[in-house]
Structure formats: C-alpha cells, structure tokens
C-alpha cells in the first residue's frame, strides 16, 4: 500500500499586512429556511437571515452569499482533512435529511488570506470597488465581489481584518496584485 499523499496548498507568502490562512473544510450550502435551521443545529452557527452577514462561533463560520446560498467554514486543524470534510458533510446531510438542499464540498476549491492592519481597507480598495468604510462595511459583513479580474469573497472579521477567499488558481494573481498595491502603504 503506498503511503499517504502529501498535501500541497498554493504558496502564499506572509507579509506584515497579509496572513495566509491554513486549510479548512468548506461547503457551499444551498438551502431554504427549513433546511438552514436544520443545518445550523449541526454546524452550531446560525445561518444569517440578513443578507451579506456572517456568523462565527469558535472555528466555525457561516457566510451569507445569496438568498439561499451560504459558505460554511470549519477552520479547526482537525476539520481540515478530506476525511474530516466527508464526516462533516455526512453529519449535515443526516441533519437536513430529505428537506431540499444542496451541499457541496469546496474545501480545496478556494484558499483564504487575512488582510490586516491600518491599511487593510486602502490595500483592498486598490482593486476592489466596494466602500469598505466601517460604517458601510461593518464587522461581520461579507459579500462576493471582485478584486480586479478575480472573484473574491470578502468578510470583515474585525475593524482591521478582512478574510478574503478566492479560487486557488487565482492565488498568484490576487496576492501578486496585493503585493504591488501594498508598496504604497
């Protein structure tokens, strides 16, 4: 029996204003209210009924992406393996049962970084057209948006912290562009 394959995530160097986030279990859950309530019980995090809002509880989070679409995150190291993701999915499926929904594992589809520090807003606004003023984009707000030509998910986790997710093949592009923009800050 061959030994277990090594896990190699896209390489993202840390910077003062950028912290690459470790692998996590990720799911896209499409669900109406009834299924959402069932899922939230297992996930132990409410699924926001308010648009563009995330909830977080320990290492678990849920991000509103659309009227029936959520990103579920489990960032504990124990949840990061593919087998853990399968177990998490099984638990969610068991809880939601026959209530219509769609749960898809996207743990490896995207990667995440934390953009942090006093210039976090300005750096992101180098290629993201949204108003990131804390009054307009408060802590807990999340959305799908663009960073130049890449689609990203943007979630403000603290006054000076933004959790940014993007598809893995865009890592060089997004972090390369961030690096150029950050030279001014």
């Amino acid at each position: 029996m061959p030994e277990n394959a090594a896990r190699i995530a896209p390489v993202i160097p840390a910077r003062e204003w950028l912290q690459p986030l470790p692998p996590a279990a990720r799911f896209i859950l499409h669900a109406e209210a009834e299924a959402r309530a069932l899922a939230a019980r297992v996930w132990q995090v409410p699924l926001s009924e308010k648009p563009l809002r995330a909830h977080v509880q320990g290492t678990r989070a849920s991000l509103w992406l659309g009227p029936d679409e959520y990103l579920l995150l489990a960032s504990s190291p124990a949840d990061a393996s593919p087998d853990a993701a399968i177990a998490l999915a099984d638990a969610l499926e068991a809880a939601i049962g026959a209530v219509p929904h769609a749960l898809v594992d996207v743990s490896h589809r995207q990667v995440a970084i934390d953009i942090r520090g006093p210039h976090a807003e300005a750096i992101l606004n180098g290629a993201c057209p949204l108003d990131l003023d804390i009054a307009e984009f408060p802590i807990g707000m999340c959305t799908r948006t663009v960073f130049a030509k890449a689609d990203i998910i943007l979630w403000r986790t603290a006054a000076q912290n933004f959790h940014v997710e993007f598809w893995r093949s865009y890592a060089d592009y997004v972090t390369g562009l961030l690096g150029v923009i950050a030279r001014d800050y």
């Binding site: 030994e3 190699i8 896209i28 499409h30 108003d131 003023d133 598809w167 390369g176």
Partner: protein
C-alpha cells in the same frame, strides 16, 4: 536674478534656486515655478511652433488651457513624456524639457514655409487633396501627414514606472480647490461628511494664489488658504488631493481622478508610484472648477508675447514674474484691468488699454485713468507686428455707426487680452448635465443637473470672491445634507449658508464673443480662433460657405476644438463666429459635447498594475509545478496555462508529440485534465434540469454511470460538451470544456433562476476542488491497480463510462472510466491540494509500464484520430448536433430541450449544410493548414466556390499519415470523393472520409 523676476513677492521659494534646461539651454528658476513661469522670468516667450503653419508661438495661459506651450520632458530614455502643457510642468532641479513640432530649431523652423503656402492648405484640405490615387494613402500621405502632425514622440522603451490605482467612496467630492471649492469642502467637512477635495494644481487655492492682496474675514488670502488646507488636513474624514485632475465624469457620480505623485520631484524614489488613478463614487459632486479666460480673435493674435490678461496677473502675483516691459491690454471687461494695474504697480509700462466697450467706466477703469494709463474705447485691433515676439500692435476705434478707424501703432513687447470668462463646464457636460445659454455671461452655464451634482462659484458664472466663497459654502453644506437631489437645488438669491467678508468690491465681468471688428479691407494676417489646431476665422468662414451648418460638422471639417486642449480657449469664439456668419443665435448653432479626459491622461494610469504577469490572471493547476520541473512547454488556454508537450533534450515539438502519441497508443500516458470545468448539480430536480438543458436523455442514467452530453444554445447550435456522471439519484457531476466553464455555469444559472424555478436544483462550481489526472493507454489499468484502494477497476466491474468513489494514496478519490484518447482510460479526481502528490505516485508506479506525460497537443491529435470534436475548434457557433455528426446523442423521446425547436426548422436539416468529415491528403506527408478552404475542383480562380474548410489537422504518428477534420457542404454524402484545398503553391487533393480514423469499432476503449 532673472531679468523679469520681481525683487520680491509671489509664492516661489527664492531660497531654493533650481537649474533646468529648455531646448538644450540652461536656465534657472525657483522651486514653486512652473516651466512657463521660469522661462518667462528669463524673458522667453517663444516655446513652440504651431501645428499646421509652424508659426512661432508663445505662452498664452497659465493653466490647463494652454494651447501653444506643449513640451517634451525627458528624465531618461524610457521616461520621455511628450505634449505636456508648459504651464503645468513643475520645475525641479535638472529638469530637461524641449519644444516640439520644429526643425531644426524653434527660431529657425523649416516648416514655417507652410505659413507662406497656407492658401494651399485651407480647411478640409486633407479631404480634398489626398483622395487619390487610393494606394498612395498608406504608402505616402499617411506617413507624411503623421510626421508633419508631429506633436511630440512617444518613448520607444517600456515604461519603467509604477502606476497605482484606488477606488474610493465619499459623501462629497469637491473638484477644484479655489475659493468656492475650499469653502464647499470646509462646509461639507464641518457637517461631518466624508469629503474628497482634488485640484489639478500643485497647491490648493486656485485664484487666491494669484490674489495676495485679498483679505477674507480679516485674514490675508495666503493665510486664509493655509488655514483652510490645514483644517481639512486635520480632519480624518477628508482626503485632500493636490496635483489631481478630475478628468472624467462617468454615470452615477463615478469620477476618475488622476493624481500625479512624482513628476514634480527631482529624484523620485525608485519604488514610488508615478501616478495614482482614483475611481471615486461620490454621493454628491460639487464642481468648483472655476472659469477660463477667453482670448480675443484679431489678426496676428498668436504672436509670442500675446497672452491672456489673467495669466499675466498670475505670473506676476503667484510667481513674481513680469511677462514683459511694455504692455498693451486689449479687453472686453473690467476684470482684466486688475491685471494691467498690478503690472503697472510692478513697474511694467502699460502703453495703452484698448477697451472694446464704447464707454468703460467703473472702479478699475477709473483707477487706470488715475494712474495715467491711456484708454482707447470702442477699440479694435487691426494687426500686430513682430517676428518671434510681438513688437507692436495696431489699434483702431469705431464710433457708433462709423467705420473702423486706425488710431495708432503702439510699440510693446506684450499684449494682454481678455474677452471675459468661460465657466469651466467640461465635467458638468460630461455628467450629461444640460447646459444653458446665458446672454448675461455670453457663455454656457450649468442648467439642469443629470446627476446628484452641484456646480459652484465661477464654474456656474458666479464671479467675485465673496460670491464665490458663499456659493461654494452653500453647495458644500447642501451636498453634505442627506437630502434628496431635488431638495439640494439652490434657488437663486437664496440666503447664503455663511457670509464671507472680503476687501475687494465685485467687478463687472463682461464678455465679448467672436472675432473683433475688422477693417473693410481684409487683414493680411490670420486671426486665430483655435491656437492648437491652427484654425482661423477664414477657415470657419470657408466651412460655412461650403455649406456646413451644424457646429458638429464645422468642427470636424475645420478641426476646431479637436486638439488635445479640446478647444478650452476656442470653442465659444468659434461658435460665435459661425453663428454670426449664418445669422442665427448662438444656442441655435448648438454646442459640441465636452469629452473626457479634461486633460490628456497617461495610459499607465489606466493600466495600473495590469501589466506583465498581472495583466490577466494566469491560472495554473496543482500539477503545474511538476510539469515545470519536467521542462514542459506551456500554452495559454482561456486564462489557464497548460502543458502543451514535454520535449526531451533536443526534441522538436513534432518529435515530442509523435513520441507522446505513440506512448499512449502502445503503453500508457498521463495527462493533467484539471482545467476541465466541473459543476455539481444537486437536488431532486437535477435529472429533469439536465433533461431540459442537454440534448441527451438523463432519466435512465444509472448511479455510477456517465454519458457524453451536448449542450445547445436556444438557436440550436452546439455550445459546449462534456461528460455528465450520476453520483447519486439527486447529484450529478458535469464536466465542461476548459474555456466554456464560466459561460456554461452562467447559462445554467440563467435557466435555473429565470425559466425553471419549479425545479429543486442548485449548481456549484467544483472546477478547482478537484485535480484531474487522466491515465490513458492499454496499460492504464495496470498502473492504477497498484494504487487504487477499495475499488475493483477490472473491465467487468468497472466498464467504460463508469464512475465511483474510492481512495488513492490515502486520499478520497472520484474515479471516472472515460477516454478522450480512444484508449482504455481513467480520470482520477482527487482534492486539489493532493493533485501533485497523487500525480507523482501514479507517474512513479507507471514507470514499469512505460508511462509518458503528455500535453494538450498530443491530447488534440489523439482525439482527432478518433474524430472527437473540440467545441470552438471543429464547431464555430453555427453547427447543429447533426452537422457535427452527433445526432445520435439526441434524446429522441424528450418533449423538449434547449435548442430543440430551432433544430426543427427546415434550414437546420438541409442536406447541403456543412457537415463534419474526415479529410485524407493523397500525399500522407502533407499536413493541411487549419482554416484552409475546400473546393470541389482544382484550379479555381477567385471568386471560388467554397464548400467548407479544414478545422483540425495533424500528423498522426499512429497512422503514419496526416489526418484532418473539416466541415464540408453535404459532406457525409461525399464520402470517397476527391476535393481540393487551394493553397498558394497549388491545390492539395484530399479524399473525404469518415472522421474516425483510428479504431473505428471502439474495441480499444472498451478493453
């Protein structure tokens, strides 16, 4: 001290002398000078040659409207910037600038012959002269005209500088930081608004910088400005941007600002961005863009030394520069008297004031008279003299009802002129605001706003310091309020939000439009309307004589207002001249639109970081790094970079591909298919969703099975294809083409959300969740058997088109038995982070079976040998499933699918449609050109009768022959026929065959 520098005064830093060169000569100036100011201090007016006639030209203005002084500034070979306005180039030590459009030099310019021959170059002469012979246009006329047009040269080396970009939002964007703009920003900031204030100049203050004697609320203009700037700087909710031009006003209050960061520095930091593009979304925009002084149109009005009166005042008061020794003022307004009086006080002789009005009176004319300055009323100008600088001016007067009468020739070295002011409505017009003709201003002023926008101060014709401050303050306060747009319309004469006490009385700002009255005998010299494009009164008269009525047509025929200055100084005079010639009121002639950018904006600013590797995302698969270590040659496929082939040392592409192809046919190949689009379709309605979408039938596809699916657009033409697998009764895994993935998902979402909301089904892209490793070839099973866990992949247990979950190398796996090569094949899907390790494990295990890595080129050859199409290569958006030989895939019993009705049209079933066929050249060594046309008979002359074209063509190592796919009219009925591919070296005979060249029974795929 330079000859024309005043002993004191101005805002330049006299403790910091600066040395610079212009056309190779070294001059000196002071920090704070513009290039124009420093040259004028040295007595230099001649700075350019005109565009068409190469007439000597001097500095006309002091700001962005400068039409004559276009210079090239060179830092090094790669940093050469042409067409900079000399009035906006800030001086730094070591600045190297040169004039343009002259040879060999400014003083002795060969092109001046154009001026003498000018009667051969009337307006529209391009259109009249260069019509024929037609072929001379490309070879002769265009190159010569382009060279003659000579507005500087673009640098030939790549731009080494960095350009930053930033999006920003604010409650109030204030454009222009003169008195109105500063008051607006202060009022808005005081109300707690988020404010961005920008101004194109190096420092805030606008007209206050040229008016040091003004006192506002008991504080001198300089101090008041400094206090305002400091107050704004201390407010964290205000962004102040000097050297920042608002160049474009886009819909919904989206305004483009270009900030110049380093062009004014002698030694910019290597890492510093040169410019920054701000893309600002503002709740309300306050346009405090001021007004531009209007020149006067009279014969010889373009001689160096003739400039705008306000510009002369700015050079004196802001830069401490006298523009000459003996001046004549030609004016239509009281306001310009201020310039003459200031120059007089500084020791410049005012030889005469020629006032166009019959009876100039008022505060300033009286002061001029008191100073002993001669005023000629009801004046006009008959001409000027002087070679490279004005030397004298011929003044005339006109009693009521009488002819123009020559008064005298006045010697001078500068002429100041003022025809009043044009409110700077460029951005207002760009915002689609409706301009109104104001008879009082003889100008267009902002009328109805289209956006949530307020013009303030001189930009809307409100002149005078106190009035501008109050108007700006009111605009800023209104803009900061969260009121609805209608509510922030300020009624005329409304109570100001704040009073400002100033020490200067309001001055009448009268205006004059069009050409000055001329003598009965036409003047010999030209009277210029558009300095930068060399358009004269005669050109405009000619255009109207030749039948042009609309100003839009006159503009294009004469090119007036079409230069880089966009007619900032010329448009209204041109309009008035055309209106007068046609005998209609000005508003009836119309107004040409103001276009962005307000001033030329560098490409670098628009490009920002989008250059080189960051121009587009360069998507790479998890296995990319392995391919790099193997020396793969890559090719772009959509945004992906894919391994094309893996050459061994010294191997050509042809040899490498032949080796890779044979390896797959004889042993085993490994291929990175991770870029394939993948969509997971989940829900109770998933099968029905696919039934409605794809031409195939999915109801009876069993769990653990897959099928080749074809997707049409509603017009019935093939849009995409791929394998669809059923993972569970309510869960499908759909693959798409690499390039088609985003548009297929978008189309599916469109139908799901708008047409079939009755279905419980959802879509999730999983393209990047999985790394996909294709293992293809007779030995593929042997290779994988050693690695796959928990799954029987024998031919009996796991036949062609099977799909199952399993494990490989300790990782969960989704395994497909599919083949795009025609051989026994598998596609191993593993979570992407494990792609490279699993690939390497398979590659290592495959060594015993001769495994060979292959790229997209080999993949293309293998599939062509099998007659498998590539959507977008063998189809072109006009092929039905039947055209592509795929009608077998249509679910015959299905009630409907996307495109079904279109397929029922008679023309979609015509036997003469182009159909996919195979093509074999008679000479097997000849590989056809993809895209080559196909004819029925050899030796045809144009127009040929074309039957179709070659879509795919390769050399097949397995068949030891070239093969090609093509589309041919009625192709399937032509099997066995000989057709011809006409090429430059003769026709190539081809035989029409089945598109399946290799293993037509499919025995190998089912092995």
């Amino acid at each position: 001290m330079s000859a024309f520098r005043t002993p004191a005064g101005g805002r330049v830093d006299r403790s910091r002398p600066v040395s610079f060169s212009f056309d190779g000569r070294i001059y000196s100036g002071f920090a704070g000078d513009t290039l124009a100011a420093a040259l004028l201090a040295e007595g230099v007016h001649l700075v350019g040659r005109s565009f068409k006639y190469h007439r000597p030209r001097g500095i006309l203005a002091a700001g962005a409207e400068e039409p004559n002084g276009l210079v090239t500034v060179r830092r090094d070979a790669a940093r050469v910037t042409p067409n900079l306005r000399i009035t906006q180039v800030e001086l730094y030590d070591g600045l190297v600038a040169s004039s343009q459009n002259r040879w060999p030099s400014l003083t002795q310019d060969f092109g001046r012959i154009n001026d003498l021959l000018s009667r051969f170059f009337p307006a529209g002469f391009y259109y009249k002269t260069f019509m024929w012979p037609r072929r001379a246009w490309k070879a002769l006329y265009e190159p010569v005209i382009r060279r003659a047009a000579g507005l500087g040269e673009a640098p030939t080396e790549p731009d080494p500088d960095r350009y930053a970009q930033r999006y920003a939002h604010c409650d109030v964007l204030v454009v222009g930081a003169g008195p109105a703009g500063l008051a607006a920003a202060l009022a808005a900031a005081q109300a707690g608004a988020r404010v961005i204030l920008c101004d194109e100049q190096s420092e805030f203050g606008g007209s206050l910088l040229s008016d040091p004697a003004a006192v506002i609320d008991g504080v001198g203009a300089a101090q008041w400005t400094a206090d305002a700037v400091a107050a704004l700087a201390q407010n964290p909710r205000v962004i102040s941007l000097p050297r920042t031009t608002a160049f474009g006003y886009f819909p919904h209050n989206f305004v483009g600002l270009n900030e110049r960061l380093t062009d004014h520095l002698a030694r910019p930091d290597d890492d510093a961005a040169r410019e920054r593009l701000w893309q600002v979304r503002a709740r309300t925009v306050v346009l405090a863009t001021g007004a531009l002084e209007r020149p006067l149109v009279f014969p010889g009005n373009d001689r160096p030394g003739i400039l705008l009166a306000g510009a002369a005042q700015t050079y004196l008061n802001r830069y401490g520069v006298k523009v000459g020794s003996v001046a004549v003022l030609v004016t239509a307004t009281d306001a310009a008297y201020g310039a003459a009086l200031d120059l007089h006080a500084a020791g410049v002789t005012i030889a005469a004031i020629a006032d166009l009005r019959p009876n100039p009176k008022g505060l300033l004319p009286e002061r001029a008279r008191a100073a002993g300055i001669e005023i000629i009323s009801a004046a006009s100008v008959l001409g000027t003299q002087g070679d490279l600088r004005v030397a004298s001016i011929d003044l005339a007067t006109q009693a009521a009802g009488a002819d123009l009468k020559f008064v005298k020739r006045v010697a001078c070295d500068v002429v100041l002129m003022s025809g009043g002011y044009n409110p700077s409505v460029h951005l207002f017009s760009q915002s689609r605001g409706k301009l109104t003709w104001s008879e009082a201003h003889l100008a267009f002023i902002p009328g109805t706003s289209a956006e949530r926008e307020l013009s303030a101060g001189a930009a809307r014709g409100i002149y005078g310091l106190a009035a501008a401050l109050e108007d700006g303050h009111a605009a800023g306060a209104a803009a900061a309020a969260p009121a609805a747009p209608a509510a922030i319309d300020r009624a005329a004469g409304a109570q100001p939000s704040r009073r400002f006490a100033v020490n200067v009385a309001p001055v009448a700002c009268e205006a004059y439009l069009g050409a000055l009255p001329t003598a009965a005998a036409p003047a010999k010299d030209k009277a210029f309307v558009d300095w930068q494009h060399d358009v004269t009164t005669r050109d405009l008269a000619l255009a109207t004589r030749e039948g042009f009525r609309s100003i839009e047509h006159v503009k294009r025929y004469t090119t007036t207002g079409m230069a880089t200055d966009q007619g900032k100084t010329s448009n209204l005079n041109a309009l008035a001249i055309v209106a007068k010639t046609l005998g209609v009121p000005i508003p009836q002639v119309g107004l040409t639109s103001f276009r962005m950018p307000y001033t030329p904006t560098s490409f670098g600013s628009f490009a920002g970081a989008s250059r080189g590797d960051l121009f587009d995302p360069l998507r790479k698969t998890p296995i990319h790094s392995w391919a790099e270590t193997q020396g793969a040659v890559f090719e772009p496929v959509a945004l992906w970079t894919r391994a094309r082939y893996f050459p061994r040392a010294g191997e050509s592409m042809h040899a490498a591909v032949a080796r890779e192809c044979l390896a797959v046919r004889e042993r085993c190949g490994i291929f990175d298919a991770s870029t394939l689009g993948k969509i997971e379709i989940v829900g109770g309605g998933a099968a029905e969703f696919l039934n409605r979408l794809y031409i195939n039938s999915w109801t009876y596809l069993g769990v653990g099975k897959s099928r080749y699916g074809i997707l049409l657009r509603d017009d019935g033409f093939v849009y995409d294809d791929g394998v669809v697998a059923r993972l569970a009764p309510d869960r499908f895994h759909v693959t798409t083409t690499t390039g088609g993935a985003p548009r297929v998902l978008a189309m599916m979402e469109d139908y799901r959300q708008t047409e079939w909301s009755d279905l419980e089904v959802w879509l999730t892209s999983t393209t990047e969740q999985w790394a996909v490793i294709a293992v293809q070839g007779p030995e593929a099973r042997h290779v994988l058997e050693t690695l796959v866990e928990g799954l029987d992949i024998s031919a009996a247990a796991f036949p062609h088109m099977s799909v199952a979950h399993g494990r490989i190398c300790g990782v969960p796996m989704l395994l497909f038995r599919v083949s795009f090569s025609g051989e026994l094949g598998y596609e191993v899907n593993v979570p992407a982070d494990y792609g490279r390790a699993v690939w390497e494990a398979i590659y290592a295990a495959g060594q015993a079976f001769g495994i060979t890595a292959y790229g997209t080129e080999t993949m293309h050859v293998l599939r062509a040998e099998k007659g498998y199409i590539i959507v977008g290569q063998d189809t072109d958006g006009t092929m039905t499933p039947d055209d592509a030989g795929l009608s077998w895939a249509i679910g015959k019993t299905k009630a409907d699918f996307v495109g079904k009705r279109s397929l029922q049209r008679a023309s979609m079933n015509a036997p003469t449609r182009k159909q996919l066929v195979g093509l074999r050249t008679r000479d097997p060594k000849i590989v056809l050109e993809e895209g080559a046309q196909i004819t029925a008979s050899p030796g045809q002359q144009p127009p040929m009768q074309l039957l179709g074209h070659v879509t795919s063509s390769y050399y097949s190592a397995a068949l030891k022959s070239s093969i090609a796919l093509g589309v041919v009219a009625g192709g399937r009925a032509r099997l066995g026929q000989t057709l011809y591919v006409p090429m430059p070296r003769g026709d190539i005979a081809v035989e029409v065959t089945s598109p399946v060249f290799y293993d037509p029974t499919g025995a190998r795929i089912n092995a």
